[in-house]
């Protein structure tokens, strides 16, 4: 009998494959579709066909026998119902998997840009549709009814998954805000789908499969309504069980979607949660920021007056925003055009925000200048080599010369070969040089590196001329922390701090620190920690050590010419997903599960927020 089933499936496979190959050819030959390659017509149609195939392979379990008046003969054969169904499922399942493998091969051989649905969504819907239509295969003799009921069930299934996501978020994290059907059709892997976990996704399909398994045991020649009565009688309790089980798995597999924090200079605490928006804690009060802006991971790049500036980037848009901390409103200063992105590297100079904007493959890269007061946007194309071929870039300084402003941009493909460019306001682009480490620019002085030297450049007639080469055999890299990369306009800096840490191995061995006095360019070693230096402060400098062995965080401070232990936060295992530390310009926020504690510089005393 297996031979018969293989033969039936083979015939169907040949028919399907022929159809999939011929239709695109027909569309091209008849010029219904023109100016496109065969593959670009074939692959999208093939994917659509595959979904039909998945449905057909599931729903057609008994279609051949029904079509040939052979159902009675089939059921009278000396096999149990399970044997019959097993023999029928096996070749169909193999066919479903084989065609999926064909899809994978085509997908990885140039089909990536021709996908009808995103890869994950396609895979998920392909196999779900197969299992759903298989589960419903005996519920009707009418193929159209099976088709409609399978699609409807798939729709219900996807929405039940969303409901489970929502319930998990409600149970473990902040309240549900936006989750909708679109996430299954997004081009990128969605965290909400990660949240579910594969087990949870599969378990929700189980009730249908289990009911099918239990009902098929009693499949006979009576009308489908007799079978369906049994099927749905079983489905009600099993579905409830499956739903609860799926929820439990989802709940168990998901990392808690906790809040993210930022402490402002005037000691207000910003809290952002994936679905419930933004709150601002201020002493005993809490305020909700008005507006609908999607998820925001607060990591402001600038604070000025009552404003905190940040970038919001979600799957729908990239924006530069500012929060007004006095009236708790959020204002969009700039929104990137569709399919355009920009990085965290936003440099502020004389009220102008400078950043790079590009499309997914970096073929269209622009230098954008946003004048904050007027909101005027200037875009300068960056199509010079090697800049246009580099995917990594950071703006690290700005200044004014000859009545015109310029910005310094570092780009690289190879970490040991960082190219420095000078981008002028009028669109002119100059290649300044190459550094093996991250360069730095302050007060007209440019620091770059060779393998074992720190090179000091000074501006002379618009050029950077090396004026001093300082041996740097330790390979220290001097600069400021992330929090000061955005503007140096108002910060009086006398010393830079350097770190010798390039690889993870170095980090485990310990990190050495040094200072560079800007007056005489003298390098002095100041100490060592086990962890990493996460934060520089212009006056007081703190070094944060996340111990990979002991579950604690140690804060070191540069005091009396040395790095000394300043404070220890015990019982903080940063490897646990519910624990997270937020290093802000003005302090440290430690989250242990739902407990949040805030410590402010310079003495790291705890700040209490009553409603937190």
């Amino acid at each position: 009998m297996l031979k018969k089933e293989i033969s039936d499936v083979l015939k169907q496979t040949v028919f399907f494959a022929a159809l999939a190959l011929v239709i695109p050819a027909f569309l091209i030959i008849t010029t219904i579709i023109s100016n496109q390659s065969y593959f670009s017509v074939f692959f999208p149609l093939f994917q659509f066909g595959l979904l039909s195939w998945a449905f057909f392979m599931g729903a057609s379990l008994f279609s051949v026998e029904r079509g040939q008046r052979g159902m009675e003969y089939l059921l009278s054969l000396p096999y149990s119902r399970y044997q019959i169904v097993g023999i029928k499922i096996l070749p169909r399942f193999i066919a479903v998997v084989l065609f999926y493998v064909v899809f994978l091969i085509l997908y990885t051989s140039g089909g990536e840009d021709l996908v009808m649905l995103p890869f994950f969504s396609f895979t998920f819907i392909y196999f779900s549709l197969y299992l759903i239509s298989l589960s419903l295969s005996a519920s009707s003799e009418n193929f159209l009814v099976l088709f409609v009921s399978s699609l409807f069930s798939l729709f219900i299934y996807l929405n039940l998954l969303l409901l489970i996501v929502g319930l998990v978020v409600l149970t473990k994290g902040p309240p549900l805000r936006f989750i909708d059907f679109r996430l299954f059709f997004s081009k990128v892997w969605q965290p909400e789908l990660n949240v579910l976990g594969f087990i949870s996704v599969f378990v929700l399909l189980l009730p249908l499969l289990v009911c099918f398994g239990l009902s098929i045991k009693k499949l006979d020649l009576r009308p489908a309504k007799v079978y369906n009565k049994r099927f749905f009688k079983l489905l009600a309790p099993i579905f409830l069980g499956g739903f609860i089980l799926s929820f439990l798995f989802a709940n168990w597999s998901v990392g808690v979607e906790y809040s993210y924090f930022y402490l402002t200079e005037d000691h207000k605490l910003i809290e952002s949660t994936p679905y419930s928006g933004i709150k601002i804690y201020e002493g005993n009060k809490v305020h909700k920021v008005k507006g609908d802006f999607g998820f925001w991971w607060p990591s402001p790049f600038h604070e000025k007056n009552e404003y905190v500036y940040d970038r919001i980037s979600d799957r729908f848009s990239n924006k530069i925003v500012r929060i007004n901390m006095s009236d708790y409103t959020l204002e969009v200063l700039y929104e990137a055009p569709p399919e355009k992105y920009f990085r965290w590297s936003i440099w502020i100079h004389e009220q102008t925000f400078a950043f790079l904007e590009y499309n997914r493959d970096h073929s269209d890269k622009k230098f954008v200048l946003l004048d904050e007061p007027s909101r005027k946007v200037t875009k300068i194309p960056l199509d010079v080599k090697p800049l246009k071929n580099h995917y990594q870039h950071t703006i690290f300084g700005a200044n004014r010369a000859n009545g015109q402003r310029f910005w310094l941009l570092m780009t690289w493909r190879n970490q040991k070969e960082r190219h420095i460019f000078k981008l002028w306001e009028d669109g002119k682009i100059e290649h300044v040089g190459i550094s093996v480490r991250w360069p730095f620019y302050i007060n007209g002085i440019l620091l770059s590196y060779s393998e074992d030297e720190l090179i000091i450049h000074q501006e002379k007639e618009g050029k950077y001329v090396p004026v001093q080469r300082i041996p740097n055999p330790e390979g220290y890299r001097f600069g400021l922390s992330y929090y000061f990369r955005t503007t140096l306009d108002d910060i009086p800096i006398k010393k830079l701090y350097g770190v010798k840490r390039i690889t993870l191995e170095d980090q485990r061995m310990g990190t050495s620190y040094a200072t560079l006095t800007l007056k005489n360019f003298k390098i002095e070693g100041i100490g060592k920690t086990q962890g990493r230096m996460d934060y520089y402060y212009p006056d007081d400098v703190y070094f944060i050590e996340s111990d990979p062995i002991e579950p604690e965080i140690r804060i070191y401070k540069f005091m009396n010419g040395q790095v000394r232990l300043f404070k220890t936060f015990e019982d903080f295992d940063y490897k646990k997903p519910e624990n997270r530390s937020f290093w802000c310009k003005s302090g440290i926020v430690l989250r242990r599960g739902k407990k949040v504690k805030v410590y402010a510089y310079p003495d790291l005393k705890e700040i209490k927020f009553k409603k937190l």
Partner: protein, 281 residues
Amino acid sequence: MTEKIAEVENLKVNIGRNTVLDNIHIQFQKGESVVIAGKNGAGKTTFLKCLANVILPDQGRIVFSDKVSPEKMGYISDQLSLFENYSVKQGIDFHSSVYQIQDFDTTLINELKLNLNQKIKNLSAGERTLYHLGLILAQKPEILFVDEIIHVIDPYLREKFLEAVIDLIDRYKTTVIMVNHTFTEIEKIPDRVLVMEKGQFILDEKTESLGGKLKKVVAKEEIPEEVPCIFKREASYLKEYFIYPFDEEFRKKFPNDYKDINLNEIIKAFIGGQYVKKGNQ
């Protein structure tokens, strides 16, 4: 000595809200040939489909003797169900492989002079019936179920079919359970007659004793109420009374001309009686 080959216990089948088979208990013996009759919708076909494992009971069970493995059961449905896209040859190959038949006896199929490459769907009803019987004969079945198909076969093939069935009974002591309305041409076959009504058996008699238990009286007058009449038919001024169960004592107590009738008329009387009963309800 009789040998039990199948026992049906407490069998119940519902279709929707209708109870089609209602609490049936019955046994079948090895080598006996049974004909099940009854009016349309009585449950005969459903009962046969239950025996053939095509319909699974909602309640009760059917226990076959250890000798009756699933490979030793044959079923010819009233729909003449086969994989009709198969050719005659493919059908034989498939049946041989499923029923693990080593030496397929094609005698009956050869007599039909079929083209082996001909599709089963292109066979006539008669050819298809005999072809299916040929497939089953190759199994050397212990038990054969045949659902109301005799009337769709032409007289020549019908005779061949019946000969083959009789041969099967003689050679292998196969138990044959047939559903049929008319007994005209199969009168020689049944050892036992069952009549169904509303999902239950209302008559279960050996054929040889049935003639003595059912008599017909043709009279102008009404017969006494003490004489059990299952069916009364009025033809002009005469009335036909079918008496069941007949007792020889009736001849003395209620003298009448109690006539013997053939099997076909007996079954007609039972079925007719059910229609009359239904009309009176």
